[in-house]
Symmetry: C2
Subunit: 229 residues, 2 copies
Amino acid sequence: MDLNIEDITKTVIKFCSQGADARMKFVLERLVTHIHDFARETRLTTDEWRAGLDWLEACGRICTENRKELITVSDIFGLSTLVDEINYPKPPGATQGSILGPFHTTEAEEKANGDSISHDPNGEPLFVLCTVKDTKGNPIPGAQVHVWEADSNGEYDIEKLSHSGPDGRGIFHSDDQGEFYFDAITPVPYPILCDGPVGVFFKLSGRHEYRPAHVHFMFEKEGFDNLIT
Amino acid sequence: MDLNIEDITKTVIKFCSQGADARMKFVLERLVTHIHDFARETRLTTDEWRAGLDWLEACGRICTENRKELITVSDIFGLSTLVDEINYPKPPGATQGSILGPFHTTEAEEKANGDSISHDPNGEPLFVLCTVKDTKGNPIPGAQVHVWEADSNGEYDIEKLSHSGPDGRGIFHSDDQGEFYFDAITPVPYPILCDGPVGVFFKLSGRHEYRPAHVHFMFEKEGFDNLIT
């Protein structure tokens, strides 16, 4: 079948939605249209196309249980934040959410308020006291809060070869005043892992390689939306 | 920084083009815009976003030297054909090009006209005679032609565990009349490898799993564009 630059899109959309449900059909129609529009608008060269596919392949190949390169790619392209904003729009007065990022794990231990989350002897001690409130300012008791941070070198526990259990992590609950508190270390800027495809992208695009210092929080409370904040 | 669904795109574009050259800046600007527009238009859910990234990761992880899943993805989304059409537009009267596909290799041997390319005793014998002509109908002698086909089970040599050298392949040259000819087997429809992410996609989208029977040709001749046809 002879196809030209313009009519190929509707042909592919037809092929891609022979048995899909309505949602899948719609998502594929939009996906194919945007991929094709991108190639047409940029007059994508054969070399660029090949380099892009090789780069995507490398992103997948470097992934492990503890290294999610494609999540990082989604983060640096702003897609993670956008999807979070689309799915969990914040009401006025609420703290802006941020993305989960690649360093949250499910292995953090339950901690009591006042406990320490860090075993790093070189970190600068930091006492963290937070209050969980609704948008009217009322304290929310019993909220579950996941907390995680890097060590004093900017490394998360799961990035270390010697990783054998959670460090710099904990799960807390807000008390009757909506408060939770713990000992930690002062966070430092941490590098985005640049020994793989993301590093190649950073070099090509001239982006900086460091993220600002973070202590991450993720809140859950029955009756409230499961916000990642 | 507070970002909303609309203004995040220009922020990410700014981040992504700090040191890039003009071409890279333009390609990234279009790429980020299309990725974000896709997410906004579909109101992409968190589950869909995650499933998409997991799928892309799986595409990369299954790749080997002889299995290029992302090329197949590009093929089934029509991107390979589109990029070929953009970069090598065909003049009126020329044979429409098709995509290189994942089964071309560099290990094919030079053959003389009349040689056989297949070692498959079960295939139906086929004699192939072709003429290479310019768009005015004049024969083109001395064109190099890569030829490849699957065996009588629809399997290409590099797909086989027992693969130890080229089979179903050859490199020919057109003679003074522009002709080249060889013994082959009648091609049969061949399956797209569906034991990986592409198979998952085919199930979800309801696409058929077979490609029509092919003998592939790739032409090269000095003084002509390097057309994949």
